[in-house]
Symmetry: none
Subunit: 152 residues, 2 copies
């Protein structure tokens, strides 16, 4: 799976259909499931999205943590219960379920936001706000993303 990068603003039609950006589609093109998995973000008013293969990796990651980890139980309960697998139609569109749209405050336009191994779907104005906040934080804190030297 290649990365989800960049941001794309697309429109929902009267039937709730919206084009998944072509670049995001090609990110999952090699997978068995021709579509994406969406769920309501735990932390933001937005929709989280990932590939089915990544969902499967999360499943096996939770396996590693043992059966009696209650915290993780809550997490996986939420995650897997809330997750919606949505298949692309012929032209690469999906219809996002009502409750997800509600959670993100999306009406007729949405922004697909790349996050590397995952992506998010936002109400355009809500996204601009949080993006400005993030930029502000960045300029103040200058966090450092370190890459081990042997990684190149």
């Amino acid at each position: 799976m290649s990365l989800f990068l960049s941001s794309y603003e697309n429109r929902l039609d009267t039937k709730g259909r919206i084009s998944v950006p072509a670049s995001f589609r090609s990110s999952v093109a090699s997978e068995n499931f021709s579509g994406v998995v969406l769920y309501r973000s735990f932390t933001n008013n937005c929709i989280e999205g990932l590939s089915m293969s990544r969902m499967e990796k999360l499943a096996s990651a939770t396996d590693q943590m043992g059966v009696f980890d209650t915290e993780l139980d809550d997490l996986s309960a939420m995650l897997f219960a809330d997750a919606r697998p949505l298949q692309f139609d012929v032209t690469g569109r999906i219809v996002i379920p009502e409750d997800l749209l509600l959670h993100a405050g999306i009406k007729d336009t949405a922004v697909f936001v790349g996050r590397g191994n995952s992506f998010q779907i936002w109400n355009p104005t809500a996204f601009k706000e949080i993006q400005n906040k993030s930029l502000g934080n960045l300029r103040k804190l200058r966090p450092n993303l370190k890459i081990k030297s042997d990684d190149n």
Copy 2:
């Protein structure tokens, strides 16, 4: 991936296409993705550029940090949301998106500036200015770049 070195001034055509310097192209020639990734610098009025493989390393670095790391959230949010994967055409050109050009104040000419594992794209005059400032700082501060002995 070999290093991005030296500086090259190239012109944009009417459609916004610009040749990536041949030397930079050969720096990423061995990679799967035949192109580069660009994003607006957080700190300067210029465009940052790197290889896709470097982007992927950043992605896995953020993965290591766990799902609920908020500081890194800001960084990766900005970075991945803003990053544009741009594929070379047959002759080695890319088209730099409007908003990136605007951010860097680039009109019809741009300088590709090598930065080792990454590079930058500048408005030519803006670059000359900042370059002079950098040289001044260097002469005053004489910082020391240390190399571990086993690194060669």
